[in-house]
């Protein structure tokens, strides 16, 4: 959680300095959910994350260096400058890279689970959407099919009260988004998304069910988007008292209190971990900044896995028929 938070704080800095460009979405406020849902995943389980899931990327092994290379659009980044932000997940990893179209990864996550079953692996799949993305039909289609096929998918709705500027009151009219679970024939639960322990427990239950062949689970995790939609957004539409109230529920502080109360980690130890993390992040930024940018020409590479040069139709002056 702390790595996620601190990376994103630095991402914001770098965005402000114009070093990171494009949309700048962070998961600040969402760390408990993102981290604690990914934490119980086994090595072979698969993560299909969304745009505020820095936490689960970190849990699943994406390093600060990889993350900074990606954010800084370096040639060394996973998408080599072709795509940006958390759109990460290379071949061979157990992370499937997202596209921007909301809810479109939900059916993909179901397909992953289907494939894993067919391949004889008993893998669970974790995928997340926001409160806003629940309104898209794709999410509905995915939940329904996962339930019919009894696939071990955990669908997490990160209900952070807003979808861009749209408050949940304009997004849906049910009480809890987990009320939708019954309509698909799967269990649903709403948890306090600022409480990592509660989230963790719920996720673990879901994976246990999934592995037992009991099918998918829907978890609504309630938290708050602590910043604007993207960093360019001043989020004036969020009432300031709501925001202030929320900061009292900062998932990281809550978890720190928990660690302290349960004597898992002292403040001193936390400070030292924090320092290590900061150090690692700064190193990562240095490494990424020193890395080369992709060449402009590489923008035209890799559209296909397999393409023969003669398939490309010539344009303009210079061409000859092959003999």
């Amino acid at each position: 959680m702390i790595t996620s938070r601190r990376i994103e704080r630095r991402v914001i800095d770098l965005y402000r300095q114009g070093i990171i460009t494009g949309g700048c979405y962070t998961g600040i406020g969402n760390e408990a959910t993102s981290v604690a849902t990914a934490f119980p995943l086994a090595e072979h389980d698969v993560l299909v994350p969304t745009h505020r899931d820095m936490g689960s990327h970190v849990v699943r092994g994406h390093t600060p260096v990889q993350i900074m290379q990606q954010y800084l659009k370096r040639a060394t980044g996973q998408t080599r400058g072709k795509d940006s932000s958390l759109h990460m997940g290379r071949e061979g990893s157990n992370i499937v890279g997202m596209i921007s179209h909301l809810a479109h990864m939900a059916p993909v996550a179901v397909g992953v689970a289907l494939a894993e079953r067919q391949l004889g692996r008993n893998s669970c799949v974790l995928t997340t959407v926001g409160d806003g993305a629940t309104s898209l039909g794709d999410f509905h289609e995915a939940l329904n099919f996962a339930a019919v096929q009894k696939l071990p998918v955990l669908f997490v709705i990160v209900n952070n009260q807003y979808a861009y500027s749209t408050p949940v009151s304009l997004q849906y009219a049910c009480d809890k988004l987990s009320d939708r679970a019954a309509g698909y024939g799967m269990p649903g639960e709403t948890v306090d998304g600022t409480d990592a322990v509660e989230v963790y427990d719920a996720a673990r239950r879901a994976y246990t069910r999934g592995r037992r062949g009991e099918g998918p689970t829907l978890i609504e995790s309630v938290t708050m988007r602590a910043r604007g939609h993207s960093e360019h957004d001043d989020f004036k539409y969020v009432p300031s008292d709501l925001l202030e109230a929320w900061w009292r529920w900062d998932p990281i502080e809550r978890f720190e209190r928990y660690l302290e109360e349960h004597h898992v980690m002292t403040a001193e130890e936390r400070r030292s971990v924090g320092e290590d993390v900061d150090h690692e992040i700064e190193r990562a930024i240095d490494i990424a900044r020193a890395d080369p940018m992709p060449t402009p020409e590489s923008g035209a590479d890799g559209v296909y896995r397999y393409w023969e040069p003669r398939w490309t139709v010539p344009s303009g002056e210079d061409w000859e028929l092959e003999p």
Binding site: G81, G132, L136, A300
Partner: protein, 323 residues
């Protein structure tokens, strides 16, 4: 008298039509208090109220379906997609429902779909689409693509008044680039190209983003003694083949330019048509400049490499002039 940007012109057209005609209303994501992702609808909620500025959940197919339903009942919805890319989520409503209604049942569907389109803004693969060819290939839809603030206003006025579904492609790249005097702008009839620059040595046929690039290229070539005629089509369905053929009568050379990817783009239609209709009048092959056949990369230099610009247009014109 004040000058207005392209996006201000869009807003002005919306306000004027909504004032003039109580049937006109806006519908889309974040278009209310927030005023839309690009602020096209800023202040409209306050001015016209919730009944006429309808904030929706995130669901593009829904927005389009609702617009169809409202249109067939006699209203005149103007639907905003947050980015043109997301219209793909509601594609079937346009490709099969809106476009066939009048054909099947004689029922008029007076709706406008506003699509913030195009690249050169670092938007990456999911926020840079030029989707016109999906719609120019769909009989029953009209497609317009203004290149200036004046045309943005005039074409939006006509689009709203038109009894058929109109796809209105607006260019993010142009939103705040240039200003026009909007005084006296009236509804611009469809199917009339504008000659953005006169010339007799070659004709550029283009629309939207690439009009200003073509003009810049023409300017450079003028210094070298070539007079390039630049035709801004303004509307693609219908498109003004007559003005183009007349121009070719004079110049004998045509370059077709658009920002969308080359293969199967609308430029193919234009080039094929001109090469046929003006076969005897051509002194050189009809050439095309368009984006390379790739998704749009996020990193700026890669994006520039992939998309057309004034230099590429100039180079292609030079080739053409020397043919």
């Amino acid at each position: 008298m004040s000058e207005a940007t392209y996006i201000a012109a869009i807003r002005e057209a919306l306000v004027e039509e909504m004032e003039r005609d109580a049937r006109v209303f806006c519908i889309g994501e974040d278009i209310g208090h927030f005023g839309g992702a690009f602020k096209a609808t800023e202040g409209l909620l306050e001015k016209f109220g919730r009944g006429r500025v309808v904030d929706t959940p995130i669901a593009e197919g829904l927005i389009l379906g609702v617009a169809i339903g409202a249109a067939v009942r006699g209203l005149r919805p103007v639907a905003e997609m947050q980015f043109a890319d997301f219209v793909a989520c509601g594609f079937s409503q346009l490709a099969y429902n809106a476009s066939t209604f009048h054909y099947r049942l004689g029922v008029s569907v007076p709706m406008v779909v506003r699509l913030p389109s195009g690249g050169h803004v670092g938007g990456g693969p999911f926020h840079s689409k030029n989707p016109e060819a999906w719609f120019t290939h769909t009989p029953g839809l009209k497609v317009v693509a203004p290149a200036t603030p004046r045309d943005a206003k005039g074409l939006l006025l006509s689009a709203i008044r038109d009894p058929d579904p109109v796809i209105y492609l607006e260019q993010k790249y142009l939103y705040r680039r240039e200003k026009d005097e909007l005084e006296g702008v009236e509804a611009i009839p469809f199917g009339r190209a504008s000659i953005a620059r006169e010339g007799q040595h070659a004709t550029v046929v283009t629309y939207a983003n690439t009009v200003s690039m073509a003009l810049a290229a023409a300017e450079t070539l003028a210094a070298r003694g070539y007079e390039i005629e630049v035709i801004d089509l303004r509307t693609l369905v219908p498109w003004d083949w007559e003005t183009v053929v007349r121009s070719v009568d004079k110049t004998g050379r045509v370059l077709v330019v658009h920002e969308a990817t080359r293969t199967s783009g609308f430029g193919g239609e234009i080039a094929a048509t001109i090469a046929d209709l003006a076969f005897d009048r051509l002194d050189a092959p009809v050439r095309r400049v368009a984006a390379l056949d790739t998704p749009t990369p996020a990193e700026k230099q890669m994006e520039s490499y992939v998309l057309p610009d004034a230099d590429k247009i100039e180079a292609a014109l030079t080739d053409l002039l020397l043919y």
